[in-house]
Symmetry: C2
Subunit: 211 residues, 2 copies
């Protein structure tokens, strides 16, 4: 069975992904800075790896087949952390993944990361960081999937999405639970790689559109 | 005669470079956000191009042969500007340079940009930005020179440098005037490209060590 490293497992989407992998009995290692943030999961089979993403965390990749990078992943952290986590820790993760011969690297990116200059926005530094991290992954040779969800909500996930960009910003919203569901589904598709999916709330089942 | 674009011509090093190019009657275009910052140079032959580096500034490259990127270039600006100027505007400059078939792109980088993880420092976000901008330039195919000066001072320049990293941080300091002098010298060396020079105050003439 293949083993998956979740980088940023204590974040909102990261924890939803981690819980799903536990439920489906996937072999997983959760990388977090502070393991107390996963106290609610500590009785599970989950392997927890404590590390600081601002330091060397290459050992977290030992024996790993797949990587999900969902650290940082918020426009609301300060721009210094945007540079050090969303961009630099992502870049280092890709370097480590390359050395560890990772078979699939799923990057949780953001809508707008394709073209940070397209709109004037306060979150432009964040979009620049995500854009460059995505580009670095794509150029690395590591098999990748990049997902770029629209504005995130805490609504209950219904597993219904679309990958076609809606015309209005209101329609772009997607529950975090459905982003997590999409990521876990993409993890299961061994032969599906080197794709970018934008993700929005919609009417299609995940397994019908993520192909 | 070849024409040089100075990106960030109103900064401290940028203005020293620009003044020297005026004195030596080089054909130059100074890119600044606010041309009033070059009021002291306005009676010269200098062409001033006003543009915002956070927007599209590709037209500044029309008819240009060489580029000097010295915008931002300070660890004391906020990390949002570090991302948007030192990294993103540098990346866009490299893209524009590629399209404009630029013959030489001189990037003013920083000591420490080779390995941002090497030291724990408050300026790490800045070093990450400079590192990634340098890497982007090096991978672009545009002929480049990268200079990485030590801690900058406002001492009078004596034109004496060394490119060998001293053992103590105190010895790494270099006057901005000597960085400017080094950049102008490197600009004149048409056949010298695809090199990285660390720059420190020293005892050698610029033209003896920058080879």
């Amino acid at each position: 069975m293949s083993k998956t490293l979740i980088i940023g497992a204590s974040g909102q989407i990261g924890k939803l992904i981690t819980k799903t992998l536990i439920e489906t009995q996937e072999d997983a290692r959760a990388l977090v800075r502070d393991k107390s943030k996963l106290d609610d999961l500590k009785d599970s089979e989950l392997e927890i790896f404590e590390a600081d993403l601002e330091k060397d965390f290459s050992r977290a990749f030992d024996g790993i087949d797949n990587v999900i990078f969902v650290a940082g992943s918020g426009a609301s952290t300060g721009p210094d952390k945007t540079l050090l986590i969303d961009l630099w820790a992502a870049k280092k993760s890709v370097d480590y993944a390359q050395k560890a011969n990772i078979k699939k690297f799923i990057m949780v990116s953001s809508i707008g990361a394709d073209d940070p200059d397209a709109i004037e926005s306060d979150i432009k530094p964040y979009l620049v960081a995500k854009h460059l991290a995505d580009q670095y992954l794509m150029a690395s040779g590591v098999p990748y999937i990049i997902v770029r969800p629209g504005p995130l909500t805490n609504d209950a996930g219904e597993g219904k999405i679309t990958i076609k960009r809606p015309s209005s910003r209101e329609e772009m919203a997607i529950p975090r639970a459905d982003v997590a569901k999409s990521v876990v589904f993409l993890l299961s598709k061994e032969d599906l790689n080197d794709k970018i999916f934008e993700l929005f709330g919609g009417t299609y089942d995940v397994d019908n559109v993520l192909v």
